[in-house]
């Protein structure tokens, strides 16, 4: 396979750049997109990026983007052309939301169509999308979908669709054993552990986990689709809650 040089005609419409999971091409045809600041890598055509505070479409921003905490991190991309987006070399996928609701870590949301409503989730650091439309999400590694009930490392959680009340779970047993480990550090028993490291973010252990609670009531119909085989499987079961997990979220710093 030779080197392929892209042109506006060969670039895909709303799909990954061919052979590259880390770049995504969006076609702008008059309808604007909300994109996170700094996500633009390149574009063809006539595209403007307007800060949400002074856009030419204040009505759309007021109606769709209700997250004052994050409004400085977003711009409205509008015009005509092909726009290539990337995010820290992370895998990027697009998802279609069909009259659904989905909550995603703010740093993993890359772009969304203004047919979707953006709300600030009650869970800090997360945003909720409501309605029908497309959005792009980035993840460090492929996204995995899992069915609750399950427990997730909060740093690995990307988001959830339609999932009721995630909650923190603290492992009491771990803490007891941790005291044992501290005793080991002081030489009182042979088992070792370094208490100091627990306070370092990278080494945050697993006693804190996010728990996807069991579903209590029938969920409204929704659909999360993407072009990956895993997600196509899940399309067949639209009533189920799903949680998306990736190897590590952008919130966690990369390896030193």
């Amino acid at each position: 396979m030779g080197l392929e040089i892209h042109t506006p005609y060969t670039l895909p419409v709303n799909d990954n750049v061919p052979g590259n999971d880390y770049a995504f091409c969006v076609e702008l045809d008059g309808q604007p997109w909300f994109t996170s600041k700094g996500a633009m890598i390149a574009y063809y055509g006539n595209v403007r990026f307007e800060p949400l505070g002074q856009t030419s479409m204040p009505a759309i921003v007021a109606a769709r983007f209700s997250s004052p905490l994050y409004s400085n991190d977003w711009v409205l991309a509008q015009g005509q052309g092909k726009l290539i987006l990337g995010d820290r070399g992370f895998n990027i996928n697009s998802y279609d939301l069909d009259d659904g609701n989905l909550t995603i870590r703010a740093s993993n949301l890359l772009a969304f169509q203004p047919t979707l409503d953006l709300k600030q989730s009650i869970v800090p650091g997360f945003l909720t999308l409501l309605g029908t439309g497309k959005f792009l999400a980035s993840s460090n590694g492929p996204v995995m979908f899992a069915e609750p009930p399950l427990r997730i490392d909060p740093e690995a959680l990307v988001g959830w669709a339609d999932c009721p009340s995630p909650s923190h779970h603290f492992d009491a047993g771990w803490m007891q054993n941790f005291l044992g480990a501290a005793r080991g550090f002081l030489g009182a028993n042979s088992r070792g552990g370094t208490p100091v490291r627990l306070h370092r973010r990278r080494d945050r252990p697993d006693p804190v986990e996010r728990e996807g609670a069991r579903r209590r009531s029938p969920a409204p119909a929704h659909r999360v689709a993407n072009r990956h085989p895993r997600a196509e499987q899940s399309q067949g079961a639209p009533q189920h809650h799903r949680v998306a997990v990736a190897a590590v979220t952008p919130g966690a710093e990369p390896a030193e």
Partner: protein, 225 residues
């Protein structure tokens, strides 16, 4: 139950009652079922270094940078592991040979594998210690024996290279070295001149010579973690 790769960065272990799986602390991504995690220290004192048990052994490992806290998973269910978006490689041990890996590259291994932390001085005498100090590998590595599977971390994927019998020697960049299995002796080859001292060297002054029969895994990156 062997470890299974879910994708290039995530490995799944299926736990049955009575089994346990040891993993780097904090590397659990998510799990289903009834699983608990217990802090666990590497059995450095148990074998290989009888004189370095308890506090002294741990202090030595911490100083050498070889101490990565581990945890044991017990119970019944499926546990998914990954770390910092690094690539994961699963290596199956058939019981006939020993896997040598640095502790910070070790993600998960079956609990019934024997693990020991070995001082490089016991392998190569003073040269081993010099190698550890000069390559930044530390003075200790982890050795795993028995039948089971191990998941190791690499930046961008690990490439297996065969050593022997036709190719008796492979030379490896110490920063790209991930792990090795089999009957391989590791020797440092340093060719440090004044150019390296003033930063005008080739950048490849220190190399690892692997001789014997077995497999060496390298990553196409010089990133340490």
């Amino acid at each position: 139950m062997p470890l299974e790769l879910v994708n290039s960065k995530v490995v799944k272990s299926t736990l049955a009652p009575g089994q346990n799986v040891l993993a780097r602390k904090g590397a659990m991504l998510y799990y289903t079922g009834d699983v608990h995690f217990i802090p666990h220290s590497m059995g450095g004192a148990a074998s290989g270094m009888p004189s370095m048990g308890g506090v002294a052994g741990m202090a030595g490992r911490m100083m050498s940078g070889e101490h990565v806290a581990m945890m044991a998973a017990e119970g019944q269910g499926e546990v998914f592991y990954g770390h910092a978006g690094l690539y994961v490689e699963v290596i199956h041990l058939d019981g006939s040979s020993m896997l040598t890996v640095e502790a910070d590259r070790l993600l998960v291994h079956d609990g019934y594998l024997q693990s020991s932390i070995v001082a490089l001085t016991s392998q190569g005498g003073v040269r081993g210690a010099v190698r550890g100090a000069m390559t930044g590998q530390g003075l200790f590595t982890t050795q795993l024996t028995g039948q089971g599977s191990v998941a190791v971390l690499s930046h961008g994927g690990a490439i297996p290279l065969q050593v022997g019998p036709q190719h008796p020697q492979v030379v490896v960049d110490p920063q790209a070295y991930v792990c090795h299995i089999g009957n391989i002796s590791v020797d440092i080859s340093a060719n440090v001149g004044w150019r390296d001292a003033v930063g005008r060297g080739s950048g490849e002054a220190i190399q690892l010579k692997m001789t014997g029969t077995g497999t060496v895994w390298v990553q196409a990156s010089e990133q340490k973690f």
